[in-house]
């Protein structure tokens, strides 16, 4: 007989979906607020979005403890950057820092799936999408997390980003207006919450624009 024995894994997946969409002069970053472990919901109101700099917001899903450690790490590094350079980090700079921070733990990775959204130095929307060990790419829109398999193809269908293979390189930002982008985000999350059990409860949307930062919430399915 096999001994009945508790066992443990250093990782867990706490679920959740993240989306970011870049526009000409704005960026929308969104994530649900459910945190689960297996079939259990741990809490229905946990923000996956964190503002790392004035014009740089990260949404992360995956293993919450790792995400938390990652955030604290970036936050501390950004503080040091501010002390040394007397300014906020730009979004592309933070994107590179995030990549390096993830790769630093290449052989004991942060189990976190991130999208980074913000405005670049020209005020244009930018989105960076990552894997757990730090490879990243600048894109016009992206989705990560448990519902990404449902959300990403829908975004592809609606937003039709120009091929990155085109020469000369085409601008990746979406042609949508800010209002349309927010509406699209609400739609994709309502859809993902229908099929993905790890996505639900509440949607948190952060909109970065020339005028600053704005937050919006929408209820999602709670079952």
């Amino acid at each position: 007989m096999v001994k009945e024995q508790a066992n443990w894994s250093p990782y867990d997946n706490n679920g959740g979906s993240c989306v970011a969409i870049a526009g000409a002069d704005y960026c929308v970053i969104a994530a649900d607020t459910r945190m689960s472990t297996g079939y259990n919901i741990l809490t229905r109101d946990y923000s996956k979005i964190c503002q790392l700099a004035d014009k740089c917001v990260m949404a992360s899903s995956g293993f919450q403890a790792d995400v938390n450690a990652l955030k604290k790490n970036l936050y501390a590094k950004h503080l040091i950057y501010q002390h040394q350079h007397n300014k906020q980090m730009s979004c592309p700079a933070m994107a590179q820092l995030l990549s390096n921070t993830l790769y630093y733990k290449r052989f004991f990775p942060y189990y976190s799936f991130n999208v980074l959204g913000g405005l670049d130095s020209e005020g244009k929307g930018c989105v960076f999408t990552y894997d757990a060990v730090g490879s990243y790419e600048r894109v016009g829109y992206s989705s990560q997390g448990s519902g990404s398999t449902l959300i990403m193809p829908f975004l592809d269908n609606q937003l039709k980003s120009p091929s990155p293979l085109l020469l000369p390189a085409q601008d990746a930002v979406t042609p949508l207006s800010e209002v349309e982008a927010v509406e699209l985000v609400k739609t994709v999350f309502a859809s993902a919450a229908e099929r993905d059990i790890f996505t639900g409860d509440k949607l948190e949307i952060v909109v970065l624009g020339a005028s600053g930062i704005r937050r919006e919430y929408m209820d999602l399915r709670k079952d």
Binding site: K72, A76, L79, I80, H83
Partner: protein
Amino acid sequence: MFRNQYDTDVTTWSPAGRLFQVEYAMEAVKQGSAAIGLRSKTHVVLACVNKANSELSSHQKKIFKVDDHIGVAIAGLTADGRVLSRFMRSECINYNYTFESPLPVGRLVVQLADKAQVCTQRSWKRPYGVGLLVAGLDESGAHLYYNCPSGNYFEYQAFAIGSRSQAAKTYLERRFGNFNGSSREDLIKDALIATRETLQGEKLKSSICTVAVVGVGEPFHILDQDTVQQLIDAFEIVSEEEVPSAESQPPSEEDAGAGQAPPADQGAGADQGAVADQGAAPMDI
């Protein structure tokens, strides 16, 4: 020829019970250009005089932000000051990492003092040649500390260090009784006037001084030069109109001024308010 036998290293006592090397380090603080700090119940203001080494060079930075709730002004060896403020920054970041709350100011000051103390007891070390005015805000309110190379530290209502700081101290000693109830704007004004006292007749301009504030609802920040110039202009105009004697001041108006201005956390409207206050009580200077 006479030569002091007891000052060749830090760890040697003089028969009179003094450590000369440590006292020399404290002398370095007096040589540095002046730094001033004063506090109310809710705010702390730091100010310093910037002196360029030569006509051709710019001046060195003497006020450092340590964290959102702590900042320092230094006098003495700027290089040592930078090292110590870097230490303080990292202590704040580390504390914040483990507890997600700001490091209490008093604790940082003790850690800093302990670090300075070690240098007074090791033969292979040299005391830091810098004095620090530490301004901070925590749960127990606003604080102003002075840390000196000997490893001693003191809490103050108002203090000045560096060259010709005695003049500023004299001014502050005359006025400190009211500081606890002062508004942010009055505090800044007093900081600037105290700074001017150390200049010995040289005209106070924003280009030769730096002012920083920390307070309730206001993270530590250095005021930009334009704001400082506006504040200076505001009370310079007033002082030219009035008798420039600093002695007499009717206490009734002073109290009214302090009482009616709540320590509001205003940023942009600050200079405006200061101008208005000047009109109300012009006989301060």
